[in-house]
Amino acid sequence: MDEQEGKMLTLVARKACFGLPTACPSCLPVYVFLKFTGIPFLFNYNLAYPDSVQIPYVETGECYVAYNNENGGVIDTLKQDGIADLDSGLDAIPEWISMKAMITSWLADAVMYELWMGSDGTSARKIYYSDLPWPISKFLYYKQVTIAKQLLGITKENADQREKEIYRKATKAYEALSARLGEDLYFFESRPTSLDALLLGHVLFTLHALPETSDLRSKLLSHTNLVKSADCFMSNYVNTSNSTSGLQSGDPLSSGSEFQSYQSTSKFGGGSSNWRSNPRSKPKREKTEEEKTFRRRAKYFLVTQLAAVLIFLSLIGGSENVDMELDNDDDGSIYG
């Protein structure tokens, strides 16, 4: 395995689940990019470091590594080092830059919100924490939720407002990208580029890894051409198992993670007929108010109970001391 790893390109990514070869939203674009390039690569899963900023990374040869947090990301590093480049100058076009900005900021923020705050957290737990022991996974999950809130600038006061803003921007991004894509499969020159990889990574994650109740997912489903391009990718690159362009060398199975090959039954023209969406109902906002009152009352109740227990203990402790002193005096009188 080590010898193979030394010779071939290896993508180190997070867990495979939800029918995807890797379910992490930052690893999927790199995976799609490598698939588009046709370079054979091996998978290696890191299941113990969910809060790493270095993952995903690509290794090749003895000493070469392209990390996620250097030089603009893995894809840009591979381009700069001449290992893989799909863009051939297209990335300087203003339109390219603005679309990339939309995907990497508005859509990325929407995914971050949906993963850590918008849903009940089952997707996040499964992708990042299912292979860590319980105490660690609990702590890291809550730590990550706090970090995500800080990054998105969400506080108790502006939570609703920020949520609306994030969804609004995501909707605009979907509309713009869908309009630009039209009936084509790819954005530029009918061939895949790293921009397609970025968008497909996002779309695949939103469709497969987010729950059916997700608002973001239901917004995406209304853009059938985006869904179609994702389905197309799955059938051409992922579900053709053991295709020459991407060897997965049994890694998903040997690492013990699940990889159920997903067979999309939707036709290219059928669009979203097989994608179900079950968005949450709106009374959630009122419930939040009730919840807040309930929490406040529960806090007061607990504080009162604690104070009562402490007073009781100190009184009991005081009467015990009195008894002890009396006993000591008695002893003194007999033996003094």
Binding site: D2, E5, V12, N44, N46, L47, A48, Y49, S52, Q54, Y57, E59, E62, C63, Y64, V65, Y67, E70, D131, L132, P133, W134, P135, I136, L140, D331, Y335
Partner: protein, 513 residues
């Protein structure tokens, strides 16, 4: 003792004047004589008693034990330490039990002074005694400590500052909080409690919570952070059993780690039981000239219902002997240390062992003084020998394209060290009196990987080829503050990636272990 016989001079008839003068003198003399005779009688009685005590068993029963002076301390704690007093049935036994009880109470470290006196028992019960135990508690339970210590686990020096609270709840509990800064970029904050009697436990129980971080970037391209709780369950002279639950994180902020280290970056939970058996019959831990010592440490990790905890088995053995040679206070010391680490659980043969639990050999620690598993081969730097892997190459403008990326020392799963040391006094009397002595030594070590199916490739031939060795001589200078060794080491065999250096080396260790 009574007087036998009379002096003939006393039979003379006295004159009247003599009678008048002699009467007063005679009375004074009588008083003196009676005092003297009383003293002599008492002395005779005491001598008779001591004679009886030293030769015969003098029966004496303890009627009651009285404890005085304990304001905060619970009586049950003191009673438990002086239990043997009640069972004494003779004077000899009582005196022995009293000195043992005194030592035990002093050892609790919660009393300023301890006094045990024997008083006579009630008049109606002859042959009994009342024992009075007087203790003086510390007025100020808070004390502080700062010093430089050696840490056997990390095998390095450290500067430690600690605050101690003694007997906070009256159960002999000793609380302490400490801050440690170690030589090899290690820092730790910890707090612990020592309970001499906890429920039904036969030996003291210690609980310690700690947060520590250690920087191994220079040697192995990773940093280690640890947050854990350890519970000392059994601690006697020879046996030690402890449970450890810790959350460990490996990170690589330098982003230059080699592949095997990259694969292990992340979090893991270690739930392990550690048992140590130690027997040390050497006449000195720093300069043994006679005796033997044996230490065995067994660690089982993964003791938890959660199968995602780290699972491993680690065993260390260390055997030492010292033989005196009879001239110049010379002695021959031999030692062998072996350590094995292996993961367990499904697919254990192909799993890698955890980087943090592996054995690392190297460092300037005198093998004679460090007891406890394979640690060092003199002449090799810290973590300076064993399996290595190339680090990641980073294309900086300042570095040439041919520059070596450096190597990570990965440690090993099978470690073996051996040494032979001949120590002797130096000819000059001045040096002898200062404790300065010389030594000639030879040491060897080997570190191999067993996990990830590598055990199949380990043959006797390969093991022999992996042996590194060094010889040398030096002078040891013990001072009040530290013990310094100045050695000249010559590396006899090493591998291309090792960091062994022939030359003069200095090493420092604490003045006493």
């Amino acid at each position: 003792m009574s007087r036998s016989g009379e002096d003939p001079d006393h039979n003379q008839t006295p004159t009247s004047d003599d009678i008048v003068d002699d009467g007063d003198d005679y009375e004074e003399e009588e008083e003196e004589v009676s005092e003297e005779s009383e003293l002599r009688e008492q002395k005779a009685r005491m001598e008779h008693l001591f004679h009886r005590i030293s030769n015969d068993t003098v029966p004496l029963r303890v009627h009651d034990v009285l404890i005085k002076g304990n304001i905060k301390t619970k009586e049950a704690l003191i009673e438990a330490e002086i239990q043997s007093l009640r069972e004494a049935s003779s004077v000899q036994e009582l005196l022995k039990a009293a000195s043992i009880a005194n030592a035990r109470l002093q050892r609790l470290d919660i009393f300023e002074s301890v006094n045990i006196t024997l008083d006579s028992g009630p008049a109606e019960l002859p042959g009994t005694t009342n024992v009075i135990v007087e203790v003086v508690e510390y007025k100020n339970p808070l004390s502080g400590d700062i010093g430089v210590f050696s840490r056997p686990e990390a095998r390095t020096w450290s500067l430690e500052g600690a605050l101690k609270l003694k007997n906070l709840f009256g159960y002999g509990d000793l609380w302490d909080g400490s801050l440690v800064y170690g030589w090899e970029q290690m820092s730790e904050v910890s707090a612990g409690v020592y309970l001499p009697r906890f429920r039904g436990f036969p030996t003291p129980v210690t609980i310690r919570a700690s947060l520590s971080s250690q920087d191994w970037l220079k040697f192995s391209s990773f940093k280690e952070k640890l947050a854990g709780v350890s519970l000392g369950l059994l601690s006697t002279k020879n046996h030690d059993l402890a449970y450890n639950l810790s959350w460990r994180t490996l990170t690589d902020p330098s982003q230059r780690a080699s592949r095997p280290v990259r694969r292990q970056l992340g979090h893991n939970l270690n739930s392990a039981l550690k048992y140590t058996y130690k027997i040390d019959k050497r006449n000195s831990p720093l300069r043994p000239t006679k005796g033997y010592a044996f230490v065995s440490t067994t660690q089982i990790g993964g003791l938890s219902p959660d199968s995602r905890c780290l699972r491993f088995l680690r065993q260390e053995l260390d055997l030492r002997c010292a033989f005196p040679l009879g001239f110049y206070n010379a002695a021959l010391n031999f030692g062998v240390g072996v350590g094995v680490l292996f993961p367990w659980g499904s697919g254990f043969r192909s799993k890698p062992s955890s980087l943090l639990d592996r054995f690392y050999l190297g460092g300037n620690f005198s093998p004679v003084c460090t007891l406890g598993g394979p640690t060092s081969v003199l002449g090799f730097k810290t973590r300076g020998l064993g399996p290595t892997e190339l680090r990641r190459k980073v294309n900086d403008d300042s570095e040439s394209s041919d520059s070596h990326p450096g190597t990570d020392f990965l440690g090993g799963d099978l470690a073996v060290t051996a040494f032979a040391d001949l120590s002797f006094d130096l000819p000059l009397r001045v040096l002898r009196e200062a404790g300065i002595h010389g030594h000639i030594f030879a040491s060897a070590g080997s570190l191999n990987k067993l996990s990830e199916n590598e055990y199949r490739n380990l043959s006797y031939q390969k093991f022999r080829e992996s042996l590194r060795s060094s010889i040398g001589c030096g002078v040891i200078i013990p001072t009040k503050l530290f013990r310094m060794e100045v050695n000249y080491c010559h590396i006899v065999s090493q591998q291309a990636t090792d960091q062994g250096k022939t030359g003069v080396q200095f090493s420092f260790s604490p003045p006493s272990t």
